[in-house]
C-alpha cells in the first residue's frame, strides 16, 4: 500500500464501475497496490468511453482515512474498538445462536442495501442466507423505490426480474416519466452514453418528451411537460383511456401477446380526464395529444423511473407504463419495449428454485404481500417492536444505511437500538452502523472480482463482463460473501435456497459464489457448455478479456416466447390487485391540504449516489450544500428570498434547508436532494451538514404503495416557511 508509485511501472487494467446501474467500462492505471488513475474505457461495448465523476473519484474511497480496515466492536460508551475477525465472528455467532435458540430462526433478519447489486457474490449469499433461515425478515432498499417493478414483472411476465427496457437506439417517440438519465445515467435500463442516445432520437426526427415536476438536466434538452409529483399515475391512466376509447390501440398485438386485455377498457372506465388534468397539472388537450401522438408514432416507448416509483400508487403506475407500451403494439419490437439478452440465466434458475414470487405470504405485523421473499422497509420498526412469535431480534445490515434511506427514518433509528444484536457490514461508521454492536469491513469493488449481475439481462448493447480484483484489499477487510458465510457457518446453515444444500453443508461441502456463477454462465444461453458450444463463454474466457465481450449490436426483438415466464408465454393483464388499486385511486380524495399545500419531491444529484459518497473530497468540492428548490411565485408568497433558511414541515416531521429560488421547479412543488444530514465516523459527510429527507416521510402501511409496501418519498404534502418567522412567533 505504501510503496511509492513512481518506483513501480504502472500497468493498465480494464474493468467496470461498481457504483451505479450504468456499470461503465473503465481503465485503471495501477502502480503496485494502488489505483493511481481511473478513466472511461473507450472500447467498452455499452458505455463506449463514458464515465462520471463518481466512478473516476472512487480510488479516494479506497484510501479514505475514515474507511474501516478492521472489525470493530461497539463499547458501552458508543465508541468502537478493533477486534480480530475470529473474536468478532465467534461472538456474533454465539449471540445469534442465543437469539435463534430462544426465539427461532425467524427472529433473525437481513437487510441488503443498494450496493449489493454490484456485488454478485454477496447478493447470492445474502439471498441464500435469508432462504436458508426461512426468515420473513429479509429487507431490501428496493422497497424504497423499485418494488413496484418487481411486482409488475411477476404479475405481467411471470418473474419479478423480468424487466423490458426502452429501445432508445431505434425508437421514434420516447416518453420519459420521472427520470433524469442525463444525471442518473439510467436506472432499470442500461443505455450507454444515454444523453447522446436520447439526442439521436430527435436528430432522426423522433420525439423525446420528459415529464417531470422539475426542468431537469434531461428535460432542458427536450420537450418538457411539467407534472405534479406523483401525478404520473393519472397521466398514464388518462392516456390509456384515450387510446382505448378512441380505438387507437393495436388489437392484433393484444390478441396475440396477452391474456386478459378485454378487461382494460373496464379498468380505466372510471378515469375522469378533467380530474387527471387537475391531479397532473397538465391540460386535458395536452394529455389527449400526448396519447394520440404516442399511439400514432411508428414506434414509441414510455419509461418511468424513481419519480414514477415513489408515490402511493407505484405498482399501478408501473403496470400502466407496461400496458401503454403493450396496447400500442410496442412490446418486443424495434424501438419499443424490449426484453434484453441475459448471459446469466438468473431468471430461469431462480424460477426453478422458486425464489421469485409475489404474495406467497404476508408480513407478520402489517400483512403486506411478500415480494421476492422480502418484506418492505416500512415494516421494519414494527417488526422489531411488536411482541409475539417471529418478532425481529437480531439484524444483519449488508452495505446499507436504512437510518438515512428509509421512510420515517427516525423510527428506524430508535427501533434498531432495541435489537438484541445489530451487525453491519460497511466500509464506514455511517448513520446506521454507528448503532451496531459490530461493524465488519468489506472489500470494495476495485478489490474483488465482479460482474454486472443486476443489469446483465438488459444492457442496450448486450455484453458479458467478468473482471478480477483490480488491486489487493488493504488492511484486514474481507469479501462480504465470506463474512456472511462465516456467520452462516456459526449458526449451522448453508446460505443457499437450493434443495440439498443444507445436507451437503453437513458433509462439509459449500460452493463458492464464483463457481456457482461460472456454472450458470457455462450452462447458460451464451455459455461454452463445457466445450460443446464453440466460442461459448466461461469465467476463464471473460477473465482473459476484462474489457467485456459484445454479444449483439442491440436489443433483441421477437423473443417474447422465450422471455415471458407464464406457461402460455403471454403477458397477463387481468389482476385483482390492479383493479383494486385503480378503485383506490379513483375513490381517493383529490389532493388539497390547505395546511400542507406544497408537494415535495426528491432530487438526484450528479455527484451523489443515494446515501453515500459524501465523504469523497472531489465529489464534495465547491462547497456543496443541500438546498430546497422552490418556484419564485411560491417563494414570493411565502416571503422567501434565495438563500434564506427555511423550515420544511410535513405531517410526519420537520427539517430545515436553505432555499434556492428557481423557476426550474413547477409552481406548487418543491424539490430537495436526499442522502444528506449524515452522522457517524465519515467526517467530511458529517461536516457537509444538511437534513434527513426521510424525517418528512411516513411508514404507515395505508399511506404507501399498498400492493408492495413500497415507500412514498414523492408528493409528500409539506408547508415551507422562513426560519426567522418561526422564531419570531
Amino acid at each position: 500500500m505504501d510503496q511509492p508509485s513512481a518506483a513501480i511501472e504502472p500497468v493498465e487494467k480494464r474493468l467496470f464501475c461498481g457504483i451505479c446501474e450504468a456499470s461503465c467500462g473503465l481503465v485503471a492505471t495501477v502502480a503496485g497496490d494502488e489505483v493511481v488513475k481511473l478513466r472511461p474505457d473507450p472500447d467498452h461495448p455499452n458505455s463506449r468511453g463514458f464515465a462520471c465523476s463518481k466512478g473516476i473519484s472512487f480510488p479516494d474511497v479506497r484510501r479514505d482515512p475514515d474507511r474501516i480496515l478492521h472489525p470493530l466492536r461497539r463499547q458501552p460508551d458508543g465508541s468502537f474498538t478493533p477486534v480480530s475477525w475470529q473474536e468478532a465472528l465467534d461472538d456474533i455467532g454465539s449471540r445469534l445462536r442465543g437469539v435463534i435458540d430462544g426465539h427461532g430462526r425467524e427472529s433473525f433478519g437481513v437487510y441488503g442495501g443498494n450496493p449489493l447489486v454490484w456485488n454478485y457474490a454477496a447478493f447470492l449469499t445474502a439471498f441464500g442466507m435469508a432462504a436458508a433461515l426461512g426468515t420473513k425478515h429479509f429487507f431490501s432498499s428496493s422497497s424504497t423505490d423499485v418494488n413496484n417493478y418487481f411486482a409488475v414483472g411477476e404479475l405481467l411476465y411471470g418473474h419479478n426480474m423480468s424487466n423490458p427496457v426502452p429501445d432508445l437506439a431505434r425508437t421514434d417517440f420516447f416518453l420519459c416519466l420521472g427520470a433524469n438519465p442525463v444525471v442518473s445515467h439510467g436506472s432499470m435500463m442500461n443505455v450507454g452514453r444515454v444523453r447522446e442516445t436520447m439526442l439521436e432520437i430527435t436528430q432522426r426526427d423522433g420525439r423525446v418528451v420528459v415529464v417531470d415536476p422539475r426542468r431537469t438536466e434531461t428535460a432542458e434538452l427536450f420537450e418538457h411537460v411539467p407534472i405534479y409529483p406523483s401525478g404520473d399515475v393519472w397521466l398514464l391512466a388518462a392516456m390509456l383511456k384515450v387510446i382505448l376509447d378512441e380505438g387507437r390501440y393495436d388489437r392484433a398485438a393484444l390478441v396475440e401477446m396477452t391474456r386478459g386485455h378485454e378487461t382494460l377498457t373496464a379498468l380505466v372506465s372510471g378515469v375522469d380526464l378533467e380530474r387527471a388534468a387537475r391531479e397532473t397539472g397538465i391540460a386535458i388537450e395536452r394529455i389527449i395529444d400526448l396519447a394520440r401522438d404516442f399511439a400514432a408514432a411508428p414506434s414509441a416507448v414510455v419509461y418511468g423511473r424513481c419519480g414514477a416509483s415513489l408515490g402511493p400508487f407505484a405498482t399501478l403506475t408501473k403496470y400502466l407504463i407496461d400496458v401503454l407500451n403493450i396496447a400500442t403494439g410496442n412490446l418486443d419490437r424495434p424501438g419499443g419495449w424490449c426484453f434484453g439478452r441475459p448471459w446469466l440465466p438468473l431468471e430461469k434458475i431462480t424460477a426453478l428454485l422458486k425464489v421469485n414470487g409475489y404474495d406467497r405470504w404476508r408480513t407478520r405485523v402489517d400483512g403486506i404481500p411478500e415480494l421476492l421473499g422480502t418484506s418492505p422497509l416500512i415494516s421494519l420498526p414494527r417488526e422489531i417492536r411488536t411482541p409475539g412469535k417471529g418478532q425481529l431480534r437480531a439484524l444483519l445490515v449488508v452495505s446499507g444505511n436504512p437510518v438515512l434511506a428509509s421512510p420515517a427514518s427516525g423510527e428506524i433509528e430508535s427501533a434498531i437500538q432495541e435489537l438484541d444484536l445489530l451487525v453491519s457490514i460497511d466500509p464506514y461508521i455511517n448513520d446506521t452502523s454507528r448503532h451496531a454492536h459490530y461493524v465488519l469491513p468489506p472489500t470494495l469493488w476495485l478489490e474483488r472480482d465482479g460482474l454486472p449481475i443486476y443489469t446483465q439481462a438488459w444492457a442496450a448493447v448486450p455484453y458479458a463482463q467478468w473482471v478480477p480484483a483490480t488491486v489487493p484489499a488493504p488492511g484486514d477487510v474481507r469479501d462480504d460473501w465470506w463474512i456472511l458465510d462465516e456467520i452462516c457457518k456459526r449458526i449451522g446453515i448453508v446460505p443457499s435456497p437450493a434443495p440439498g444444500a443444507q445436507l451437503l453443508g453437513r458433509l462439509g461441502i459449500r460452493f463458492k459464489p464464483p463457481l456457482v456463477f461460472d456454472l450458470m454462465l457455462r450452462l447458460g444461453p451464451e455459455g461454452d457448455l463445457f466445450g460443446l458450444r464453440r466460442g461459448g463463454l466461461s469465467r476463464r474466457k471473460l477473465m482473459a478479456n476484462t474489457g467485456g465481450v459484445k454479444l449483439a449490436d442491440g436489443l433483441p426483438t421477437g423473443v417474447r416466447h422465450k422471455a415471458v415466464h407464464h406457461k402460455d408465454h403471454r403477458v397477463h393483464l387481468d389482476h385483482p390487485v390492479i383493479a383494486s388499486e385503480m378503485r383506490r385511486l379513483i375513490a381517493g380524495p383529490e389532493r388539497d391540504d390547505p395546511e400542507y399545500p406544497l408537494r415535495l419531491f426528491s432530487v438526484r444529484e450528479l455527484r451523489s449516489h443515494n446515501s453515500w459518497l459524501q465523504n469523497v473530497p472531489k465529489l464534495m468540492a465547491g462547497d456543496r450544500v443541500q438546498r430546497l428548490l422552490i418556484h419564485p411565485d411560491d417563494a414570493q408568497e411565502l416571503g422567501i428570498d434565495d438563500g434564506d433558511e427555511v423550515e420544511i414541515a410535513s405531517r410526519h416531521g420537520r427539517i430545515t434547508a436553505p432555499a434556492r429560488v428557481t423557476d426550474e421547479v413547477m409552481r406548487g412543488s418543491v424539490g430537495l436532494p436526499h442522502g444528506w444530514g449524515h452522522r457517524g465516523g465519515w467526517r467530511r459527510a458529517v461536516a457537509a451538514g444538511g437534513s434527513i429527507y426521510n424525517l418528512l416521510t411516513t411508514n404507515a402501511p395505508a399511506e404507501v404503495d399498498v400492493p408492495t409496501g413500497n415507500a412514498v418519498l414523492n408528493g409528500v404534502a409539506v408547508r415551507v416557511r422562513p426560519v426567522e418567522r418561526i422564531q419570531r412567533y
Binding site: R39, P40, S53, I56, R193, G622
Partner: protein, 88 residues
C-alpha cells in the same frame, strides 16, 4: 463528448476544483493562473461528466454538441489553448 468553456467565463476556480480528471486549465499550479481571463477544457481529456457545468457560477460551460451559435468559435478556442500550451 466534451464540454467547452465560452465567453461568460470569469476564470472562477469552481470548475477546476470539481473536475475529476483535472482537464481544466490553467489551474493554480500552472503558469497564467493569476492573470487568466478565462479557463479552458481540454477536449482530449474531458470525460463529459458535467460536474463543471453545475459548479460554474455564470453558466459559461456548454456541451460541445449543444453550444449556442454565438459561442461556436469557443470549441476551437478551448482546443487551441492546449495546442499552444501542451498537455498538462
Amino acid at each position: 463528448m466534451s464540454y467547452v468553456i465560452a465567453a461568460p467565463c470569469v476564470a472562477d476556480y469552481s470548475c477546476v476544483e470539481v473536475c475529476p480528471v483535472d482537464c481544466i486549465s490553467p489551474g493554480p499550479d500552472e503558469p497564467g493562473f493569476d492573470n487568466a481571463e478565462q479557463l479552458y477544457i481540454n477536449p482530449a481529456e474531458c470525460i463529459g461528466c458535467r460536474a463543471c457545468v453545475e459548479a460554474c457560477p455564470v453558466d459559461a460551460i456548454f456541451a460541445i454538441d449543444r453550444i449556442p451559435d454565438r459561442y461556436a468559435r469557443y470549441r476551437k478556442i478551448n482546443a487551441d489553448y492546449f495546442q499552444a500550451h501542451g498537455r498538462r
